[in-house]
Amino acid sequence: MSSAQATAEVINLSEGELDLVNEIRELGGEELLECIQCAKCAAACPMVLAGFPFFNKRVIQAILLGLRETLLDDSSIWACQSCNRCTEVCPRKVNPFEIVQAMRRVAVREFALPTLSIEGIKSLYDTGHAVYLADAWQSREKVGLPKTPPSTVAYPQALKDLQALMRKTALADLGIIPMGEAGVTDTCEV
């Protein structure tokens, strides 16, 4: 049996927050209420096979019941591969992936996101790349390529543009990462 069932604790439904549904719908999970819990998404989900306790179907049910704390206490949503096979097979056009994504957005607003994600976001802001290896120039040279790819790391104005844009997004209000006008920093391995 998967760890999905390992939750032995009783969930108190009366503590459900009814406005979680609206929050999710506003943050990109517009089709949430179309879900009939048929479990076809779960049947197609890699997270289920890997054994994560919360995945598309269960995330949606928990949202419908307003179980904000239950969801925030668990990091499963951050393991979603964004593979979108659920979106492909969902017979109700719920876009389960978008619901998981919207739940991540809720979590981010409560600062409930894993360190790795924060690092990725910081790296994105600082270098223009969520994945950036400062010493990659060695392997690049080894295979006969210039030290840097033709990206924001080689074009400072492009990086400035990117940072200016990021400062205009919701990220700026959340205070997750410092958002100064930096250049390319040393390393940020994700």
């Binding site: 049996m1 048929c38 197609a44 097979v89 017979p91 109700r92």
Partner: protein
């Protein structure tokens, strides 16, 4: 000056819950022409109606406005009340402050109250201009048309025929029987489908009052209740049915093979074929599109003569036919024959189609061992491709493990959002038949929800579980092909809370029941609409379930929505009894709400003539000039001509220009400037 009475209904809490009745009543009282305004808990009840009758009798009112629910169901009731009070019944107007107001704005009491005032003001404005009108009566042609020869159509036809009326039964296939003829056994009693259906088919085929028009389709419908004129296209069979004895010799001889529709494409039929062994009528049909014209015998040509024997060189079918029914020399008209029928009423029982497996790519439909439930019916049937032996299509082996997948194309926004209603039960039935005949077979059914709400259905479900059929809650996400033509079914078992996989030899898709191809077009010909899901729409879900928006046309069976055999038959017999009423009365009342041409104003321009959907208008000479004339019997009162007439020469009684203008003025008073209502 008219004396208008306004009667406002609370409809229990339905209206009063959102509309401030007393405020509206006081407002109505002061409207121009209103003599009295009253309210009551249920205006349609006896005491409510008495209020109206009494006011008329007392001479207090001579026009009536009822502000209540929908005229669709309640106008006849209030018209009768007005008539009983001694008033012409067309001096009544209704304001629908329930469906159009309180139900729509239940959360906004102030707004709902304001809207109720406007709707009533509008009805009062029209009521002031109402004129007394007289009902018309038309004679009824005492015959009926039934479209569709499945179990619904057959029972509808039999009931009318047994009541003594002539019935034309039109079926598009060569034989009657419909989808039910394909089924093996039927839930919840597991009677053999053929055993209970064949005798009915024979009765229909031999009934003196039933004229069977098989291999035929309705081409056009004109007229209205009592007098429909229907054109029916009898498709060309290329076989003389008067001579054909259904012996099957031609079929035996024919070399051209075509996928067999009756066996859901799992084997082949011939180009010349008898639809199935129990066909009624048992006659051969030549499928000209797949005929290979052997011996170069193109239809309508003389045979070549054998150079040595001097004998004509014939095609295999005509050579085999002992009665001369297959005569390829004859100049058969490819268009078939066009028949014209006159009928008083029509029943539409055009049936359904079970979806094909091909759209469901995630279930590997390219595997021969993925079949639809209808295909499994044919496999299980003694008249099917395996003669009732359970064999999987890839190699004829008996499957050891079978998986059923529910809701394939149903409850699915990509295909059909409705529940097909019969799949849960037919899956259980097929699983049970297999388990009873082959107890060592492993049978799994993957459901979303098990829906077995019907008489004796839950007991049937219990029994299936007792047999060891495994029920898994969780819609299947995918089917992978494995070596040896086996299949892997992947699901999430909701009850276990675990992903599950099952290796199966046969996967059965419970595909959705969908409207028969062409149903929407048929509906258009008949003037009846389809709902968003594509099935024909009944007049009222609860109270008029077999009537349609067109008087004299009734519906039955799966053309109205997915249903099982008991329901289909019940609805068919209900439809036949409704369709018999006008035939029995012999004449029907037609409302006088029809159009009339003012011959002095008409310029004879003829614009109205082609616009009339009922072909009721013609140009006739008057004082040496052509003038429009409307046939009262054909006019349905749609008002298109009145709206289009450039000379304003056409009046639609009950909806005159003056009446409509008065209504619009009252509705819009104060909007865009002036005082609000």
């Amino acid at each position: 000056m008219p004396r208008i009475g306004v009667y406002i209904c609370h409809c229990g809490e339905n209206i009063a819950g959102a509309v401030n009745i007393e405020e509206v009543r006081k407002y109505a009282e002061k409207l121009p022409g209103v003599a009295v305004a009253r309210d009551y808990l249920f205006m349609c009840s006896d005491p409510g109606q008495d209020l109206i009758k009494q006011d008329i009798k007392d001479g207090v009112v001579d026009r009536v406005v009822v502000a209540a629910c929908t005229p669709r169901t309640h106008e006849p009731i209030f018209r009768k009340a007005a008539e009983d009070g001694g008033l012409n019944k067309y001096l009544l107007e209704m304001a629908n402050i329930r469906d159009q107001d309180s139900w729509a704005h239940w959360h906004d009491k102030e707004g709902a109250t304001a809207k109720a005032k406007r709707l009533i003001a509008s009805a009062v404005a029209k009521a002031a201009l109402l004129e007394p009108l007289q009902d018309r009566f038309v004679e009824v042609t005492k015959s009926s048309l039934v479209i569709g020869g499945g179990v619904s159509g057959m029972f509808a036809a039999l009931d009318l025929a047994n009541a003594g009326y002539k019935v034309y039964l039109v079926e598009k296939n060569p034989s009657i029987g419909g989808n039910m003829a394909k089924l093996d056994k039927t839930f919840p009693t597991n009677d053999c489908s053929a055993c209970i259906l064949t005798p009915v088919m024979v009765q229909v085929g031999t009934h003196p009052n039933i004229e069977l028009l098989c291999y035929s389709e309705v081409e056009s419908v004109e007229g209205s209740i009592g007098n429909f004129k229907v054109k029916v296209r009898k498709k060309q069979t290329y076989v003389d049915w008067d001579k054909c004895t259904g012996c099957g010799d031609c079929v035996e001889a024919c070399p051209a093979k075509v996928p067999n529709e009756f066996n859901e494409g799992m084997d082949k039929r011939k180009a010349i074929y008898i639809q199935f062994p129990q066909a009624v009528p048992k006659k051969a049909v030549l499928d000209i599109e797949h005929c290979i014209n052997c011996a170069k015998r193109t239809i309508g040509t003389e045979p070549r003569i054998h150079s040595k024997t001097g004998e004509p060189i014939l095609a295999f079918c005509e050579k085999a036919c002992k009665t001369g029914a297959c005569d390829r020399t004859r100049a058969w008209n490819p268009e078939g024959e066009l028949l014209e029928l006159n009928v008083g009423t029509i029943i539409v029982a055009a049936g359904y189609k079970a979806m094909d497996k091909t759209p469901f790519k995630e279930y590997s439909p390219q595997s021969p061992n993925v079949v639809t439930a209808m295909q499994l019916e044919r496999i299980l049937s003694a008249t099917g491709p395996t003669e009732g032996e359970l064999k999987r299509p890839s190699d004829g082996e008996k499957p050891k493990t079978i998986a059923f997948i529910s809701c394939v194309g149903s409850r699915d926004k990509n295909y059909h959002t409705y529940c097909s209603k019969v799949c849960c039960m037919y899956m259980l039935k097929e699983a049970r038949l297999i388990k009873e005949k082959y107890p060592d077979t492993n049978v799994y059914i993957f459901f979303i929800d098990v829906r077995t709400g019907g008489k004796d259905f839950e007991e049937y479900y219990d029994y299936c579980r007792d047999l060891g059929i495994k029920i898994i809650r969780g819609r299947v996400g995918g089917v992978d092909e494995l070596a040896g033509d086996r299949l892997r079914v992947r699901a999430y078992d909701v009850d276990l809370g675990n992903p599950v996989e099952l290796e199966a030899d046969l996967v059965v898709l419970a595909t959705a029941i969908e409207p028969a191809p062409g149903l929407e077009e048929l509906g258009r010909k008949l003037g009846i609409t389809c709902g968003s899901e594509g099935f024909l729409k009944e007049l009222h879900t609860k109270l008029y379930p077999v009537e349609t928006s067109v008087k004299g046309i009734y519906i039955a069976g799966c053309a109205q929505g997915p249903k099982d055999i008991p329901e289909s038959v019940s609805q068919a017999r209900a439809a036949s009894s409704a369709a018999a009423v006008p035939l029995t009365l012999g004449k029907v009342v037609v409302e006088p709400l029809i159009s009339e041409v003012d011959q002095d104003k008409c310029s004879g321009c003829g614009i109205c003539v082609p616009l009339c959907p009922y072909s009721a208008i013609s140009l006739v000479p008057r004082d040496d000039k052509l003038r429009a004339k409307i046939d009262e019997a054909l006019c349905a009162g749609c008002g298109v001509c009145a709206a289009a007439c450039p000379s304003a020469a056409i009046t639609l009684h009950g909806f005159t220009s003056a009446q409509i203008h008065a209504q619009i003025e009252a509705l819009t008073a104060g909007i865009g400037g002036g005082a609000s209502v």
